[in-house]
């Protein structure tokens, strides 16, 4: 593909339905009312010169380059700020306009360094383009006068530079930071000649509130804000559209390339999840792909204490197959299993579950979604009939009330958060349910109407209390419920929630949230117009995670907030392909499309196509596999792109399970923590090195396109194919598109999906089939997938994880913007400048009681284990609650988490652990010992050894 040059329409699109017809340079054009003359001109095929306008932000009208003349009107209005009017005749090129434009350009250029030939933006600079467009031939003012040519560069951000000598003070960056990103980090300070762009209060970028999303860099028409990678490498020459491999927003990007080298990632305007925006991870943190820590050769060893031995692909694959066969012969068919990855493509996860079900002959397959969103699958399927969010992201633009529960979108789903913040700035109301004061509770131009700061572990009590208010105050939407849901079940449920023990006044003692705040929030949700729920792991990672998911679904059904735009129940998925991994049959009890393996009709279709008999019994889940390994009945595991030794709870138990196995196969980019216990390491490929698809949190299937050859020689799907062939279950695929064709053939909700369709439409949201050939943005419109909506009684069952004299505080966990999950990728990029260690947030009151000062090392101890990290004293957490992230292996936060899990799905209870915090001198004994083992077990033998 050549370099994709997207059209810049100069100003945002108008959504008006009424149209207006006008004439521009003799060309008749019809556009929506409210469109700017500049944008209408682009529609007519005419580019009006411009500098301060770009279509990602509202017009400002400062540069005076885009002037036009309108017949019968005086003056020369700016085309970017002048709306169209019926019947007007506009001229964009007259002698007068040319003179004015040249004059404007002359002034700009007289204060601009003339180093175009050596400038990094050479060839990609709008100032340069405009000088050409207006025919600027001389600058009469000379450079002797006062100018900004010596202004100092700010290179503090690791990914871009700010060179004020090149700035034309067009304020596109300032507006992008406000309107696109919603961070308000930039301002234009000073007036006239002294006016300049300032980050924070005249700070360096790195010290300001800037979150490094790059929107300003993308908006800047000159080389002032510039990617360092472009400065280093030069301008790209071709681009390929692909999908970000970090989070569940699934942003679409142009990978801009020189040969096989990525020059920069630019968010794609046509991307339906991100509309041309991105966050720091997707745009900048791709350096891990070429990091020196990447393992590029397969490796094998007898014992985990041996050094790794590099071997050929043939030897490694042969070894895996013979070990798995040996172990099955010795310990039985069910003594082996595998784990699919939410970081890999749909096609790759599909193949791993196929290998396990058909090649290994059992259903011991699970996926990392077990530890995050498995309750979503169960809960939404039970209530609505389908295991997925109900809306597209754009639906939030029509929400009047946004209810965020246990999610922190500005950190974990930043691009969707930007869209949400835009809606909130436009007047939608916000309710936050979270034990911690997340940024959205109060930030520039956004303030939550209610923050219900509940005690960790009391979600279900609180959601039932909200329902109590809705039912007892007569706020339920009875007409909706009668038409769409099971009326008898509703009445049962209503009677249950109406019980006095579920009233806000009674529940207040459990949750710590004042009754009147619960009442006010419930009233707002029920009566504030379109109300939409967005939730995250703060809902699911509890012993009652599934019950809470169903509690939210109850609330949406009772108030009729489901089945149209602006409403719904929406999981914000952590990893890029959690949705896809679940859709692809990664759970031990389900085929693709969430169909139970005991269903004979479904199983028969798989058996017919795969040519084998399949087991009709559910297999082991990850925690069950580990339990079975500790017991000695589970002996070998194939782990695709997943680091269970770091991401799963109760690390010491995980380690014991892994150590007990005879063959642990890890397929990953890096020697991760799990690889410390592996016998075979198969080097995987990054998303830049393979073809496939990811499915984001709004069920959107987007293409991943190969931009460079695989550095290890094999894409992950090819590795699985090779193992399967060696195991004696041959797979024949020449390209991932053929795998998708098989998925479509076997899965009713994917029946209409093909690579051709994805190429044509860009992306598509499942269900995509005959009934919905272009996909389904909003679900459950006329009826629920299951038929009638199902109300579920949500009895609050307190977790057995309780505080007491030994462990008086509650620990809850989360993530931050610049790092991604276990951090294997982001820790290998410059993103570490924002977060180089995990910190323990603790309330000043609790800190003072323990004699802990900000920055001190503290020991964090639960009944499962202990770890040490530094303390950060903050009022974001309530007294009695502490909080940390889990991005760094040195912290080993999961040494502390316990074996408690969700009743329905075994999703671990990460969000509630009773702990004690005490001053400490540094890492714990376990941390030091683990560090030692880890270093030893990572050793790779020299060829001569």
């Amino acid at each position: 593909m050549p370099l994709i040059q997207e059209t810049d329409y100069g100003t945002p699109v108008s959504k008006a339905e009424k149209t207006v017809t006008l004439t521009i340079d003799g060309v008749k054009v019809t556009v929506p009312e409210g469109t700017s003359l500049m944008r209408a001109a682009v529609d007519a095929g005419i580019q009006v010169p411009k500098l301060c306008a770009t279509d990602s932000v509202a017009a400002f009208g400062s540069c005076r380059l885009c002037l036009v003349e309108i017949k019968g009107r005086n003056g020369t209005p700016a085309s970017c700020t002048t709306p169209v009017a019926e019947g007007i005749e506009v001229s964009t090129q007259t002698e007068r306009l040319k003179q004015i434009r040249r004059g404007v350009m002359e002034l700009y250029i007289s204060d601009h360094p003339l180093d175009c030939l050596t400038c990094a933006a050479n060839g990609d600079c709008e100032l340069q383009d405009m000088a050409g467009a207006v025919g600027l031939r001389e600058v009469r003012y000379g450079y002797a006068g006062e100018n900004h040519l010596d202004a100092a560069k700010d290179e503090s951000n690791p990914y871009f530079t700010f060179d004020p000598s090149k700035c034309i003070v067009c304020s596109r960056c300032v507006r992008a930071c406000e309107e696109v990103q919603g961070t308000f980090a930039l301002t234009i300070d000073g007036r006239g000649f002294a006016s300049h762009v300032s980050a924070g209060i005249d700070q360096d970028f790195i010290e300001s509130e800037c979150v490094s999303c790059g929107a300003c860099v993308q908006a800047c028409p000159t080389a002032t804000l510039m990617e360092k990678s472009v400065i280093d490498i030069g301008q790209p020459e071709h681009s390929v559209v692909t999908t970000c491999a970090y989070c569940g927003v699934g942003c679409s990007f142009k990978a801009e390339m020189r040969g096989t080298e990525v020059v920069r990632m630019v968010p794609y305007k046509d991307g339906k999840a991100n509309h041309g925006h991105s966050c720091v991870k997707g745009r900048f943190a791709w350096g891990y792909a070429t990091h020196r820590d990447r393992i590029l050769n397969p490796m094998v060893r007898e014992k985990i204490s041996d050094p790794w031995r590099e071997v050929s692909w043939d030897e490694a694959i042969g070894h895996v197959a013979s070990e798995f066969k040996r172990i099955q012969a010795k310990y039985g068919r069910t003594a082996v299993g595998g784990i699919t990855s939410s970081r890999c493509t749909n096609e790759e996860t599909y193949l791993v579950q196929k290998l396990i079900r058909a090649g290994f002959g059992n259903n011991n397959v699970d996926t990392c979604a077990r530890v995050c969103h498995s309750p979503t699958g169960y809960g939404l399927k039970e209530t609505f009939g389908t295991s997925a969010g109900t809306q597209d992201f754009d639906s939030v633009t029509e929400a009047e009330v946004v209810l965020i529960i246990g999610a922190n979108p500005t950190d974990a789903h930043p691009v969707f958060a930007s869209q949400m913040k835009r809606r909130l700035r436009a007047g939608a109301k916000l309710i936050v349910l979270d034990p911690r004061r997340i940024d959205l509770v109060r930030m520039p131009h956004v303030e939550a109407s209610h923050h219900l700061q509940l005690k960790p572990g009391t979600n279900v009590a609180l959601i039932t209390a909200l329902a109590h208010v809705i039912v007892t105050e007569g706020l339920a939407d009875e007409a909706f419920v009668r038409e769409r849901c099971d009326w008898d079940e509703f009445q049962d449920w209503a009677a249950f929630v109406a019980e006095a023990r579920n009233s806000p006044e009674a529940v207040s003692a459990i949750t710590g949230v004042p009754a009147d705040a619960i009442r006010a929030a419930a009233r707002l949700y029920a009566t504030g117009g379109n109300a939409a729920i967005y939730y995250g792991l703060g809902v699911t990672e509890h012993s009652q995670g599934t019950t809470m998911v169903m509690g939210m679904a109850n609330l949406a059904m009772a108030t009729g907030n489901i089945g149209r735009r602006g409403v719904g129940v929406n999981p914000l998925r952590g990893q890029n392909n959690v949705q896809g991994a679940c859709d692809m049959g990664s759970f031990p009890h389900e085929f693709t499309g969430y169909r139970h393996i005991s269903d004979d009709v479904t199983r028969a279709t798989f058996e017919a196509l795969w040519g084998v008999t399949l087991d009709a019994e559910p297999g082991l889940r990850i925690p069950n596999m580990l339990d079975a390994a500790v017991d000695g009945s589970f002996k070998a595991i194939y782990i695709q792109g997943e680091d269970i030794a770091q991401s799963d709870p109760d690390t010491q138990h995980v380690v014991a399970g892994l150590e007990n196995m005879e063959c642990v196969v890890v397929q990953d980019l890096f020697l991760n923590e799990t690889a410390n216990f592996a016998h075979v390491f198969l080097p995987g490929s990054t998303f830049l090195e393979k073809d496939g698809t990811f499915t984001n949190a709004e069920r959107r299937i987007g293409r991943v396109r190969k931009v460079m050859p695989s550095r290890s020689g094999m894409a992950d799907w090819e590795i699985t194919v090779a193992i399967s062939n060696a195991m004696g279950f041959p797979m024949h695929y020449a390209h991932p598109s053929e795998i998708m064709d098989e998925i479509a053939e076997l899965t009713p909700t994917f029946a209409g999906v093909s690579y051709d369709k994805l190429d044509a439409l860009g992306s598509v949201q499942w269900p995509c089939n005959e009934a919905a050939p272009e996909g389904t943005p909003i679900m459950h419109i006329d009826h629920f997938v299951r038929g009638k909506g199902h109300f579920v009684i949500t009895e609050y069952v307190p977790t057995d994880e309780r505080t007491g004299p030994r462990f008086p505080l509650l620990l809850t966990t989360g993530r931050i913007l610049s790092q991604y999950n276990v951090g294997a990728q982001t820790r290998r990029t410059d993103n570490v400048v924002w977060h180089h260690e995990d910190l323990l947030e603790i309330h000043p009151h609790d800190a003072e009681q323990r004699g802990v000062r900000d920055g001190d090392w503290v020991r964090l101890q639960s009944r499962a284990g202990g770890t040490s990290l530094r303390a950060k004293i903050t009022e974001r957490v309530a007294p009695g609650v502490v909080y940390t992230t889990f991005h760094h292996p040195e912290t080993q936060a999961n040494v502390v988490t316990t074996e408690f899990s969700d009743w329905a799905t075994n999703c671990p209870e990460y969000k509630v652990t009773a702990v004690q915090v005490s001053p400490s001198n540094g890492p714990t004994e376990w941390q030091s010992r683990y560090q030692g083992i880890s270093e030893h077990n990572r050793h790779i033998a020299d060829a001569a050894e």
Binding site: T334, E617, S633, A904, T905
Partner: protein, 73 residues
Amino acid sequence: MSPDRLIYMANQIGKYFESQHRQNAVDGIADHLRKFWDPSMRRTISAYAKNGGEGLDPVVLQAVRALSGVGPT
């Protein structure tokens, strides 16, 4: 697999189904175990139930017995 963990999990499941008004708890629990527990886990808990099933909540015990074909007591 050690029964302790399974007993804990089964009782947790039991609590949910006991609170549902419109579904028979025993059926609900048994159905859940059939759908989500691998046969070796079901065998272990069934064997445990046969030997008295100490620690299993009464409805859970019934459900586990129904599962193994022993029938509710």
